[in-house]
Amino acid sequence: MIGLLGKKVGMTTIFTDDGRRVPVTVLEAGPCKVVQVKSPENDGYAAIQLGYEPIKPKKANKPLLGHFKKAGTEPFRKLKEFTVEDVSEKFEIGQEIKASDIFKEGELVDCTGVSKGKGFQGVVRRHKFGGGPKTHGQADKFRAPGSIGASSFPSRVVKGLRMAGHMGNRTVTVRGLKIMKILEDDNIILVKGTIAGPKGGYVVIRRSKKKAK
């Protein structure tokens, strides 16, 4: 699905014309440049590779620098490939894509970000377990997970059992977020709801597979 690379700016509140108050995430979307165009003839599928956030040439490594040189664009910090479903949409190398080019207000988008890392967390925080009783002579099992399975049969712990471990810092996609507003000149889009990740975190914004109601 065609989309854009961007950054999370933060969250705020806006008001709709019918008086409702809407929480929105402010995203800087693009502008991105097309670095590579993949066609069914050459590559077996149709896609475009977009670059976001220009960097100094000395910041990019040599193999990537060659890739950007071939495209004739400046080096970018982030590269991402988007499949092109609609063949009628034509893209050229070096073409700049802005938020207003591919998104419209009222449309739904899917946003992918990397959630904030929480480190190694116990089951109470990671999986919302209740923990043990806090009174009645309880001594040392306040936040313990409890039983993790039966004994002699099956003599092992079943796979996928929820336990303590690393939490956060994983790719999270939120689907079907409505675009409330696009500020064309600033490449800013306002999306209803929350998106994983810190302020300044990189976000992939795609046209949603869900349809607007």
Partner: protein
């Protein structure tokens, strides 16, 4: 940088005709209410007991004693479009920003003294 962008986003939604008021003041809040297709205005009058937040997120809490001596509090977003007008009825003389202590008080003790400015007292 990111704060600037958010301020710019908010700027369109901020009202400019909001009167100055703070905790302790008595206000009349005129609300636009849409009921079965008809629009009417409802007034909520009471003491402002808190203001919090900034930009479009700013809200204020109004407390009034309704019929039957029941305390009613409503929290309004300051810049909400449903608020037609905010009228300041009187200024209160208070020494804190949040008047949560009013909740535990009944009758005369729950009153806020009126602030008398120099002009008024010279009369």
């Amino acid at each position: 940088m990111s704060d600037e962008i958010i301020k710019k986003v908010q700027s369109e939604y901020l009202k400019k005709d909001i009167p100055q008021f703070k905790a302790g003041d008595t206000v009349r809040v005129h609300l636009r209410i849409v009921e079965s297709g008809k629009t009417r205005t409802q007034v909520f009058q009471g003491i402002v007991i808190s203001r919090r937040g900034s930009g479009t997120d700013e809200t204020f809490t109004v407390r009034k004693i309704a019929a039957g001596h029941i305390g009613v509090e409503r929290i309004f977003p300051l810049h909400a479009k449903t608020i037609e007008k905010i009228e300041v009825v009187s200024r209160g003389k208070v020494r804190r920003a949040k008047l949560t202590y009013l909740r535990g008080r009944v009758g005369k003790a729950a009153k806020v003294k009126e602030l008398r400015t120099a002009k008024k007292s010279s009369k």
